[in-house]
Symmetry: C3
Subunit: 145 residues, 3 copies
C-alpha cells in the first residue's frame, strides 16, 4: 500500500462525513446519489446484494419504518485508503451504529467492518461498491482481504 | 462548500482534541478559554442560550455535581469544515457522550449534532458560537441548515 | 507543542488504523510487530508493565480466551501528536472498546486514555511505549501529563 496524498485522505474523510449524514438523515435519494448509477451494496453477512441506485432507493424505503422515532448515527473509525489508480480508491473502515430515541436513550446495532470502492467522477467521489461485514459472526472480518 | 486546505483541517481536528479533553476533564475555566470572550453556547434542544465566558463558567460549575464520580468522554465524528473567510470557519459534527463509573461501567448520554463557528485570533482557533441539537427529537437535525 | 506536518498527522492516523485492526483481529504476533522489539505496555490502572514483544505475545495469548466468541473493536478519538524529534512522536488519544457477540449485541469495556511514544524505524512507525489509563478511577487522567 503506497502513501496517498494528504489532500486525498481529507477528501475521503469529507466524503464520508457527507454520506453518513445523508444516511443518518434517512435521505434515501440523497444517499443513493453518493453512489454511482450502477453502485452495489453487498450485505455480505446476510447474503443480500443490491445493485443500482433504483434498487437501493426501493430497498431503503422498505427499511425506513424500522427507524421511525429513532435517530440513527454511524460512527466510523480506522479508515485505510489505498489508491488503485488516479480516480479509484479502496477504502476500509469500522462502523459503530447508535439509535437514539425520543427520550434520548441510546441503543446499539451490531458493529461492522466495511470495504468500499470509491471512484472520482467529474472531480467528485462516489461509492461504486460497498461490502458490509457484521462483526461477531463465526468468521471475523477485521481486516480487508 | 469549497475545498479547505489540509493544514486547516488538521488544525481543526487538533483544536477539538484539546477542547474536548478540557471539557471531559471538567476543567471549566480551561474549556471556557477555548471560546471567545463573548462566546455563545446555544442548547437549542432545551432553548437555553449562554452568552460569554463568565456565564459559561457559572453554568458549568452549577452542572459539575452531575458528573461526580463518573468520567465523561465526548466522541466526535463526521467533521465538515467550511471556510467563511480567512479566519472564520463553520464546523459541524456529531457527538456521542459516554459516562464511565468507578467500576468501569459505561452508560450513554443522548447523541448530538453540533454547529460551531470558530474564529482564528492571534493565530489560535477559538469557538465563537456553538449550537447543540439533541438527537431523537421530533425534528431531527442531521445536517447543517 | 509545535505544529506538525499534515503528512505526519495522516501517517499517525494510518498507523493506528492498521495497529487497531491487528489488535481487534486478535492477531497477537501482528500486533506485537507494531511495537519495537523492546516495546513497553504499561497498564497504569492496574500497575502491570509488560516489556518486550515476547512478553507481550505471551500475555496476550493468555488473555485470548476472554475474547472467545466476541468481536472486539477499539474506537479512538482526539489524537494529539507532538513531534519530539524527526523520528519520535508523543501521541495521546482516548479509546472506547466494544464487544459484539454472535447475535450482534454490543457491550462495553471501560473507556481509556492512552499515552504512546512512537518511533520511526526504517521509515515505518512503531510503538516504543504505551501507557494505558482506565477512566473512572479516583484520579482521572483526561490529558497528557
Amino acid at each position: 500500500m503506497g502513501v496517498i496524498a494528504v489532500s486525498v485522505y481529507i477528501e475521503v474523510l469529507t466524503f464520508y462525513a457527507r454520506q453518513m449524514r445523508l444516511l443518518d438523515a434517512l435521505d434515501v435519494e440523497g444517499y443513493a446519489n453518493t453512489f454511482t448509477e450502477d453502485g452495489v451494496t453487498d450485505h455480505a453477512h446476510r447474503g443480500e446484494k443490491i445493485e443500482g441506485r433504483a434498487a437501493m432507493i426501493a430497498g431503503a424505503k422498505h427499511a425506513l419504518p424500522r427507524y421511525a422515532g429513532v435517530a440513527v448515527r454511524h460512527w466510523n473509525d480506522h479508515y485505510l485508503v489505498d489508491e488503485v489508480d488516479e480516480n479509484t480508491l479502496n477504502v476500509t473502515y469500522c462502523s459503530l451504529v447508535t439509535r437514539t430515541d425520543a427520550e434520548g436513550a441510546v441503543t446499539f446495532e451490531p458493529t461492522f467492518f466495511i470495504e468500499d470502492v470509491l471512484v472520482r467522477v467529474d472531480g467528485e467521489l462516489l461509492t461504486r461498491s460497498r461490502t458490509i461485514h457484521r462483526d461477531g459472526q463465526a468468521k471475523q472480518v477485521a481486516q480487508a482481504s
